[in-house]
Symmetry: C2
Amino acid sequence: MARISGFDTYDVRFPTSATLAGSDAMNPDPDYAAAYLALRVDDGTSGHGFVFTIGRGNEVELAALAALEPFLTGLEVAEAVGDLGAVWRRLVGESHFRWLGPEKGVMHMAIGAVVNALFDLAAKRAGKPLWRYLADLSPEELLGLVDFRYITDALGPDEALDLLRRGAEGKAERIAELERLGYPAYTTAPGWLGYSDDKLVDLCEIAKREGFGQVKLKVGASLDDDVRRCALARRAIGTGVDLAIDANQVWDVESAIDWIGRLAEFDLAWVEEPTSPDDILGHARIREGVAPVPIATGEHVANRVVFKQLLQARAIDVMQIDACRVAGVNENLVNLLLAAKFGVRVCPHAGGVGLCEAVQHLSFFDYAALSGSMDGRSIEWIDHLHEHFVSPAVVAHGRYLAPREPGASTEMYPDSLAQYAYPNGPVWSRPERDPDRAR
Amino acid sequence: MARISGFDTYDVRFPTSATLAGSDAMNPDPDYAAAYLALRVDDGTSGHGFVFTIGRGNEVELAALAALEPFLTGLEVAEAVGDLGAVWRRLVGESHFRWLGPEKGVMHMAIGAVVNALFDLAAKRAGKPLWRYLADLSPEELLGLVDFRYITDALGPDEALDLLRRGAEGKAERIAELERLGYPAYTTAPGWLGYSDDKLVDLCEIAKREGFGQVKLKVGASLDDDVRRCALARRAIGTGVDLAIDANQVWDVESAIDWIGRLAEFDLAWVEEPTSPDDILGHARIREGVAPVPIATGEHVANRVVFKQLLQARAIDVMQIDACRVAGVNENLVNLLLAAKFGVRVCPHAGGVGLCEAVQHLSFFDYAALSGSMDGRSIEWIDHLHEHFVSPAVVAHGRYLAPREPGASTEMYPDSLAQYAYPNGPVWSRPERDPDRAR
């Protein structure tokens, strides 16, 4: 009768702002960070999850994790991982915490880290990588993970079960295919806003050589720069590789339509985050205004209720789920079900710290046991900070290789947690670091 | 050259769950709480603001306030209060913190507390109650408080200025009227879900005698109970007093339409929070499905972008702004402008700890200098915890009296901050309190 004995949490930050990797029109100087959770079990095992942030405020997520610890400590592990739907409902429905959202922001993301740590634990106990653990569940077991609150006007339990049953047909063949061939990746490496034109072109050529089917550029700071950079990128990759752009929410509705209109000549695979992730009606108007350019969003979509409406309003062509923004695997399962219902492709957001590791399992699961489709789908890839993970995501020839190690790939090395501990780990306490970074 | 010298913050909680005051279908046991901020100035003055929460997790808001402190400390006060629009944009636009929302949840509410503390300071320095301070600003000065990001498709600067200029016509007469007659209040005192039928009837009769024009009942736990309680309330108040109901987000779209249909016979002034505050399209469908029953929401609406869409989608009849949910006075000024543009009445959410104190200024300002209308408008009133405030809100004969003391009415007595300090203040450390409340 193993029980959860408590949380070990870590404020881990990487000084990425020094290189401008990760720079975009909204986020000029991110220090990629994780509010990291090791959920301890008294038999010596553990489950791992985290909230990804970009630096300052990471400690607020740590405070949220601490608030959740009493709700987990003492739980019998077999019971908890045996009904992860019930645990999810208890955490997300906790009325005091709910007031702090509801179902959005700091508290919701912290719940996501806890949920993901529990799934890591569940998959490890089953001896399977998370995507296989999920794919091996029956449609009825998967349905038990879903909370249908607020989505029944778009998708009810009967229809969801139907989708899951149809998704299970041919599952074994698709699992074998995934294990053999992996899943498409696209790369954002060339496109950070802080990079020079030369660096952009070099990285585009490298991406093409490496076999990526799509590259993505950050845009939205200067239209002239964007036109020039898109032209350079398109010339470097040719017509055989797709080109997507990402505005990171900097536009209003009308300015998005105008700006995208000027860039449409570059045959865009999608335009990502044209405006506020809360603006469902705005996305719908933008999509209509720039058709047929596809519109994508999701990395900052707070929960399933917003995704539901983006789909109902026909506001997006591409759903970009994020492993750490919503309340973990359960809520992303709902998002995948909604995408399947509305026939929208899912291309997860990744990068940051550990987002590739965490989210890959969801796309692999989706192909194996839900949508059964890879058409136009790919997972974002940035070759950055993977060395800190015990079972890092691996991309080769433009494809994610199927994770094979048990768990959710969310476990970091203890040495990384120590080296990058903020503010007192060796990386941050070196004298050359500005002591007043918080300002 | 007075400068901001730092934050004093307090975790203040009131054991309200002991009485079931505040109980509703979503929140069975709130302990009303404030993450309270005294923004210190080196000349000995201070500005006061807070985030209202319902207990657990209040400490997470304290962590968010601590993260914001370095951004304020050292600022010259005259410069800060002289351009509160710039301060707002700096805080809300801070990219690292923005990642934790964006513009929603724990971080956004903490920014709201800081902004409201700055407005308290500004009004005190001007020697005016906040509503008068705002009403005395010119249309151009008010416009300078507004960030139009993400709302220009509904309301641009020119149209906003036009609304403010028209709102200023006849301002002096309306200010005099407010000072003489106050502003309508409605009461939620009778309607908490934990109250017996007898208590409900008694409190409805008292509310009628006291001159309130509207009472509100909590609903949504049991349809049979709701039918019985609405009938009892309607009998007690007669037809001369309005009856509103509040479901606190417990329904899905279809169940809301069904449930409200069964209660429509009681001639409802509005149905509040029928479903998720994020569900714009859901509110629109509910409103259409139960017409002509008015639909209200807002106390959990995260920001101006969601309010904008609720108005664009014709999803609500009543906008219920909350002083502490969004990023303070600036963002609520946008919300009031949007309501004026779309011709929707504003009836603020209040109650809790200090919400009546804080939000009354916004309705008084709106009548004086923006909408110029009280038709169908009233501010929620709950006669609870006002004794902890230095300049408490006062309701008499069913109307809020105009605040006359300088500031935003947000300052609490030091003794209250000490008595109700959590977890070590005298109220919480008494032996009869369950030491394990956090579970």
